[in-house]
């Protein structure tokens, strides 16, 4: 993690020098590709209906109602989907392989989810952390199903 933070600070310093406005703006993390029923994106306290093509960012939560489901593909090819009455948070996401910035933290909050690992897990498995309320899951090139019972 130390390496990632150092590189990140370095990259921020460079980016700030070149384009101060851009450095503030987080890069899109991925897009919603599959959506059905009641499904929303929760961003900073606001709730937006989930739609195909909707761009998701780090810190977004995906949440579904009783008939809802939603699937996203992140820019490193990671795929995450949730079933009904479920919620997952994209806690952090950094994918700049050229600069060694790689991080993915997913929090499975409730309900059912599926996860298919992407490039970050391939390039830096330790940069991926999947969290459930009771445990942390470390991965090595993996497809998982996760259930968090209320």
């Amino acid at each position: 993690m130390g390496r990632i933070i150092r590189l990140w600070v370095f990259a921020c310093a460079c980016a700030t020098a070149a384009t101060p406005a851009l450095a503030q703006q987080p890069a899109p993390a991925g897009r919603i590709k599959v959506v059905a029923g009641e499904a929303v994106v929760v961003r900073g306290g606001n709730t937006v209906p989930a739609q195909n093509g909707f761009v998701v960012f780090a810190s977004d939560n995906l949440r579904t109602g009783k008939d809802g489901r939603v699937g996203v593909t992140l820019s490193d090819d990671t795929q995450v989907s949730i079933g009904p009455n479920s919620e997952v948070r994209l806690d952090s996401f950094l994918y700049e392989p050229g600069q060694g910035q790689l991080a993915l933290v997913l929090k499975f909050i409730r309900g059912t989810a599926a996860y298919v690992s992407g490039q970050i897990a391939k390039l830096a498995p330790d940069a991926v952390r999947l969290e459930t309320p009771a445990a942390i899951v470390g991965v090595r090139g993996t497809t998982l199903a996760v259930e968090v019972t209320d």
Binding site: V34, T112, I136, G141, T142
Partner: protein, 192 residues
């Protein structure tokens, strides 16, 4: 959460979390995962392996029938998007012109794009190490833009194709500087 200093009888586990290792897409084999908390850890290393874990309890391996997994996770699994596809197109020396072989591969890229309801393409241009690094950034970008033009001509929305260039920074075949290497003159395409 502060923990009691003295061991008291543990309440029945609440809100157990279930983690199941599944085969990777298109394969029968699985990767690996380790489920851990401050009470212990369990490694999952074959498809179908599962762990149950409750807060404050060590994770424990459990067996769960694949039919039960399919039932429980049917909606979540059905909501996984189509897996991303990757293509590499090669180019002539110092040019944004595709090799003849790669020209034929373009059709497969177009098929992958057209199969998706909401396609998204990233094209990253690369060069070999012949010439100056700065010039190669430009050449890589011209190559990526050539791919973008082909996709837009075929009907893809311009906003759906992102282009980037790594110039000579990310070689497919590692060489010294100023080495003529056809396999490094390429555009790597991801279709999501």
């Amino acid at each position: 959460m502060p923990k009691p200093a003295v061991h008291t009888p543990q309440p029945a586990p609440e809100s157990p979390n279930l983690v199941v290792l599944l085969p990777d897409p298109g394969k029968t084999t699985a990767g690996r995962a380790v489920v851990s908390n401050d009470k212990g850890s369990v490694e999952l290393n074959e498809a179908g392996a599962a762990v149950l874990v409750s807060s404050g309890q060590p994770p424990r391996a459990v067996s769960i029938e694949s039919q039960a997994v399919q039932r429980k996770f049917a909606d979540a699994l059905a909501s996984l998007p189509a897996p991303p596809e990757h293509f590499v197109l090669f180019f002539r020396f110092d040019s944004e012109e595709l090799t003849d072989e790669s020209r034929r591969l373009v059709q497969q890229v177009l098929v992958a794009v057209k199969q998706r309801p909401d396609p998204e393409v990233v094209a990253i241009g690369h060069t070999d190490t012949t010439g100056a690094a700065a010039k190669n950034i430009e050449l890589g970008l011209r190559r990526a833009n050539a791919v973008r033009a082909i996709l837009i001509d075929a009907g893809l929305a311009s906003a759906a194709v992102a282009v980037r260039s790594h110039g000579e920074a990310t070689l497919l075949v590692h060489t010294a500087d100023n080495v003529f290497e056809p396999r490094n003159r390429r555009v790597e395409i991801t279709v999501r």
